[in-house]
């Protein structure tokens, strides 16, 4: 059996490979993160306490708030950003922020993507071909 490949409707940014941090939860840089320490800081979030730095972040959708559009560049510039954002559904803020920060982003998969990618999985993200590949070790 080959490596599972997941196709999405839209992507931006350059290909990247990394370790996934995944949950069936939503995302906002303002609401959910301690961007100074690089960890999820919202107690109610399923990734509470975990470091997102350098991870392929796999989540459901965006929460309210426009701040993420600025915050992603700040996080990238300080070396405290995820390596890519993988969402079931992105809102415009995530897309504007990813464009501004040159952060890879993909959304609208044929499947519920957080249920297919587990934390710790090694994944290849290719926004250009719009494929996400789960590497089987």
């Amino acid at each position: 059996m080959g490596e599972p490949i997941f196709k999405c409707a839209a992507g931006m940014g350059e290909p990247v490979t990394g370790v996934a941090l995944s949950a069936d939860d939503d995302f906002s840089a303002r609401y959910d993160l301690d961007r100074i320490r690089g960890v999820f800081s919202r107690p109610a979030h399923k990734l509470y306490g975990q470091s997102y730095v350098g991870k392929i972040l796999v989540l459901n959708t965006a929460k309210g708030g426009v701040a993420t559009a600025w915050m992603l560049l700040d996080m990238v510039s300080r070396g405290l950003a995820p390596a890519a954002l993988i969402l079931n559904s992105a809102n415009p803020i995530m897309v504007q922020g990813a464009a501004f920060a040159s952060l890879p982003l993909m959304h609208e998969f044929e499947v519920d993507i957080p249920s297919q990618i587990a934390t710790g999985d090694l994944v290849k993200v290719d926004p250009i071909s719009r494929h996400l590949i789960k590497t089987v070790c």
């Binding site: 992507g11 919202r42 426009v66 701040a67 559009a69 600025w70 560049l73 700040d74 415009p92 897309v95």
Partner: protein
């Protein structure tokens, strides 16, 4: 989905850099977003509303804005009225809160850069109440989720959520990609919520918005709400929309018989494939704090959205000359225009005599809230804003939703 985006000759010139670096950068950003969402072309907008608090921008964002502002005048000037969301620093109070000069300097750098570009520093998220209410069908680039949902829903204007870089881009190009809520097909109701109880307070309206926002759960879904008896007030819809946008990333709602795109119930009912969902009093009540009389309250906040003149007057009436507890802070954040009106009507003086603080041009969660809490030992925060309660837990607070009356009593007693 990607696609070819049709550009006018002027948009092509901006993209090619013939009108300077700021407009070229702006078009490049907008084109990436347009391609991502499959926009066919761009639409002219009449206003841009820019979120630019420096906690969000960080040094990288500040340097970027300063770079844009350093361009030649004909290249850097905005081409449509461009206004701003709340700042990150209250210049009259930051020293009392223990915030350093570094924070203030950072904030001033952004103000200087944006003003150099012709941006009007309105510092408000209630621009639809205080600056220029939108008109039905008007295309906008609004940059606060609360202002977007209000403009779309109550006025029937057309805006997507435009984050700071995107709204600044719109101010420089005068246009935005035509996708999402600029298109009629995205404005149709997708889910029906039947309300069997009328919210009684502003916090009830926020709680109702939060409940619906959680259930809708996507930027691309639009709720239709029926069962609201009589027209809500502007402040009620403000709290309702802001909470819905916060909890669900929702940019548009329709209320039967109230909002302009919900006047034809039969048409709306026909749009919706899902079965109606009933919302009851108990759904609203579960959003409130489970009150424990022994809970010490560190800070009571009226903000998110900034309060209106009427809300300030209500706070003064409920406070009724009582003194704020010595171990609790009572903060009220509003726009510079409303603050001036409060000064003029003596409301600020009455609040200050009671020990409350009226903040101008800021909103609590945008004021470096994490550092603010650490510097002042603020942990337990009480507010009548469902939106603020939703946001602030990630900044290290233990927030509790309460009515305006309960909030003010908590500020006086020091406990909730």
């Amino acid at each position: 989905m990607t696609s070819d985006v049709k550009l006018t000759s002027f948009e092509k010139e901006m993209l090619d850099g013939r009108h300077g670096y700021p407009r070229q950068w702006a078009m490049e950003q907008q084109l990436k977003v347009a391609q991502f969402f499959g926009a066919e072309d761009f639409v002219r907008v009449t206003q841009a509303h820019i979120m630019c608090d420096t906690e969000s921008l960080g040094e990288a964002g500040i340097l970027h804005v300063e770079k844009l502002a350093g361009s030649r005048e004909e290249h850097r000037n905005v081409v449509i009225p461009a206004i701003t969301d709340p700042r990150g620093i209250e210049f009259n109070h930051y020293r009392r809160f223990g915030q350093s000069e570094e924070f203030a300097t950072r904030e001033q750098r952004v103000i200087d850069a944006l003003q150099t570009m012709g941006v009007l520093m309105t510092d408000t998220c209630i621009n639809y109440q205080t600056v220029a209410p939108p008109v039905f069908g008007e295309h906008l680039a609004f940059g606060d989720t609360g202002s977007v949902i209000y403009a779309n829903s109550v006025f029937g204007a057309r805006s997507n959520f435009e984050g700071g870089p995107a709204a600044l881009s719109a101010a420089l190009t005068g246009c935005v990609p035509r996708y999402g809520y600029h298109l009629e097909q995205y404005r149709q109701a997708t889910h029906h919520y039947r309300i069997d109880v009328r919210p009684r307070t502003l916090s009830d309206w926020g709680a109702l918005g939060a409940v619906i926002g959680q259930k809708v759960g996507s930027y691309w879904n639009t709720p239709w709400i029926s069962g609201i008896d009589g027209s809500p007030t502007s402040d009620e819809l403000k709290h309702f929309g802001a909470a819905m946008a916060s909890y669900g990333s929702v940019p548009l709602f329709h209320i039967e018989g109230v909002t302009p795109e919900a006047l034809n119930s039969d048409k709306l009912a026909n749009q919706i494939k899902e079965s109606p969902v009933n919302i009851t009093r108990s759904d609203i009540e579960q959003m409130y704090a489970k009150v424990d009389r022994s809970v010490k309250v560190d800070v009571v906040v009226f903000a998110a959205p900034q309060v209106s003149l009427f809300e300030v007057q209500d706070i003064v009436k409920i406070l009724n000359g009582r003194l704020v507890n010595g171990s609790t802070e009572l903060l009220i954040a509003t726009s510079p225009e409303i603050k001036t009106a409060c000064d003029r009507f003596g409301l600020t003086a009455q609040l200050e005599q009671c020990g409350a603080t009226v903040l101008s041009g800021v909103c609590f969660y945008q004021m470096y809230a994490r550092e603010l809490g650490q510097l002042n030992d603020w942990k337990t925060l009480v507010s009548n804003s469902a939106k603020l309660v939703n946001i602030i837990a990630g900044y290290g607070y233990e927030p509790k939703l309460a009515t305006m009356q309960q909030c003010i009593d908590a500020a006086v007693d020091g406990v909730l």
